[in-house]
Amino acid sequence: MTPDAALAPAELVARRPSGWSRFATLILADKKALVGLIVLSVLTFAAVFGPLLSPYDPNDMAFDMILGPSWAHPLGTDDLGRDLLSRLIVGTQVSLFVGVSTVTIALAVGVTLGVLAGYFGGWVDHVVMRYIDLQWAFPNFIIAVYLVAVLGTGLVNVIVAISLAFVDDFARIARGMVLSIKQEQYIAAARTVGASNFRIMWRHILPNATAPIIVQATVSVSYAILGEASLSFLGLGVEASTPTWGLILAESRSFISRAWWLGIFPGLAIMLTVLSINFLGDALRDFLDVRESRSL
């Protein structure tokens, strides 16, 4: 018996740290990623416990108009006398919800399409590729605008529009991964022992294709949040009664030269969120060793 084989399992684990602990080490070492993680944690906390933390009703016009930041109103009030902090907290909920839900849908649909296309080839691949090519000719944001144009505005339509806009990115990546993994010997082995197509795709191909998909998903969340903010800003976003970051900026535009806080804080909220996700995405990209991905 060699000395190595005599090691207890616990020691083996200690010698090869798990993916999570290696990632944690990396995050702690990378200041940008750490900042990103902290900011996102705070925002998530604010979004989840929003109604409890929120000092006032976001739509309550009970206060003096255009008050600068103070103890009573840390971020000031807007032109209708509403508390900006309370409104931004609701905006956080919408932004994070739209960002995560759209990317989850886009990932589920896109990866399914991509895996089916790459695995089965033939006419399935042909149909999926034509669709990807069609969508690939346009930036995601423009696709989202087109879809809102035909579907109309509102939370559900915005989520559908942004989700569909990102489907092609995931489909393309998943298809590419499947095409290369399909050639591996372990796939042939799985087929030889009689694994079904579904089992091969789900248990053998997909787990080996996750790294680039995770990186793409992270990047996409930041673009989805920017997309939602842009749509809201243009008046194509969720219902006008919901104070989203984009909408708050649009509403306060004409008052910004008199009330800087109305222009600075909502924009800062968007930028910090997107920046934090980008920081994390960068760390993930290094960690998972994925080459540059595209998402506009």
Partner: protein, 316 residues
């Protein structure tokens, strides 16, 4: 080459046809009639019907489609159903140079920021300069373009009146009036893109600086500036050219948003206003033109590759 060009051209036309057709039918399938919305308050159903007849919305969908398609082929996109009933093609022709001006100028501004930034970061790797450029690149990528646009208006146009805050002047009104109205929108659109390009130039410069021919050039005793600008930069720019297609897409979608901040009646503003008013003919026309720009700029960029890098050929 010509065979390839022909195939790609046909492909581009098919994409445009597919988008136009999808949009046409989806606009009509999704509930919500523009006239009903327009006259809902008046409750005058007869007037609604009369307007629907006037614009042909009472006819079966396929009849509307064939008519619209046939007219569009001849450059007739119908008239806006709002306000003065202006022909859509006239709106589009007025809007096109505005959007292209913003996209073009923002590309120039992006390069003015990105080339020096990328060069500094690459030649002073791992110094404070490099970290500074990387940090600002992250900021630029994360800053919403419409927010930057608002801040530019407030600080540079309203507070110190350096530049006009809103509007557009055609080039025929003079170079400076045209340029001065475009500078702020172009900065708003170009900043995010400059971040992408700066990062790209940095990494491709770092690659080039490691090559043998750079070592040879250095061994010959060439001045540092000759090395950088004459030997390294042109090669480092090749990968940048490959993203011009993506660049244009990004700048165009940026222009669509930012036009609305600066009240410039470009394609983006036309499209967004059309959507908000449910002005079908305008939405359809604007989507068709915006789509054409994307599809044909992709084609153009692929052509450019083979000109810039002669190793790429499309004969096979």
């Amino acid at each position: 080459m010509w065979g390839y060009l022909l195939r790609r051209g046909i492909g581009a036309l098919i994409v445009m046809w597919a988008v136009a057709t999808l949009v046409f039918f989806m606009l009509r399938i999704v509930p919500g009639d523009p006239f009903a919305a327009m006259l809902a308050d008046a409750g005058d159903m007869e007037a609604v019907e009369a307007l629907r007849r006037k614009f042909g919305l009472d006819q079966p969908m396929y009849v509307q489609y064939v008519k619209w398609f046939w007219n569009a082929l001849q450059g007739d996109f119908g008239t806006s159903i709002y306000g003065a009933r202006v022909p859509v093609q006239q709106l589009l022709i007025e809007a096109l140079p505005r959007t292209l001006s913003i996209a073009g100028l923002s590309f120039v501004i992006a390069l003015i920021i990105a080339v020096p930034a990328g060069l500094i970061a690459a030649t002073r790797r791992n110094t404070a300069w490099d970290h500074g450029v990387t940090f600002f690149a992250f900021l630029g990528l994360s800053m919403p373009d419409f927010w930057l646009a608002i801040l530019l208006i407030v600080f540079l146009a309203v507070n110190i009146s350096w530049l006009p805050a809103i509007g557009y002047e055609p080039l025929s009104a003079g170079f400076w009036p045209w340029l001065s109205h475009l500078i702020l929108p172009a900065i708003a659109v170009g900043t995010g893109f400059s971040a992408i390009i700066a990062r790209m130039i940095r990494s491709s410069m770092l690659e080039v600086l490691k090559t043998d021919y750079m070592r040879v050039a250095r061994a010959k005793g060439l001045a540092n500036s000759t090395l950088i600008f004459y030997h390294a930069l042109p090669n480092a720019l090749i990968p940048v050219v490959t993203v011009i297609g993506i660049a244009f897409a990004l700048l165009m979608s940026g222009a669509v948003v930012v036009e609305n901040v600066f009240s410039i009646k470009g394609l983006g503003r036309l499209l967004i206003q059309g959507i908000l008013n449910r002005d079908y003919p305008v939405v359809q026309g604007a989507i068709l033109v915006v789509s054409a720009i994307f599809v044909f700029s992709n084609l153009l960029v692929d052509m450019l590759y083979s000109v810039i890098d002669p190793r790429i050929r499309y004969d096979s």
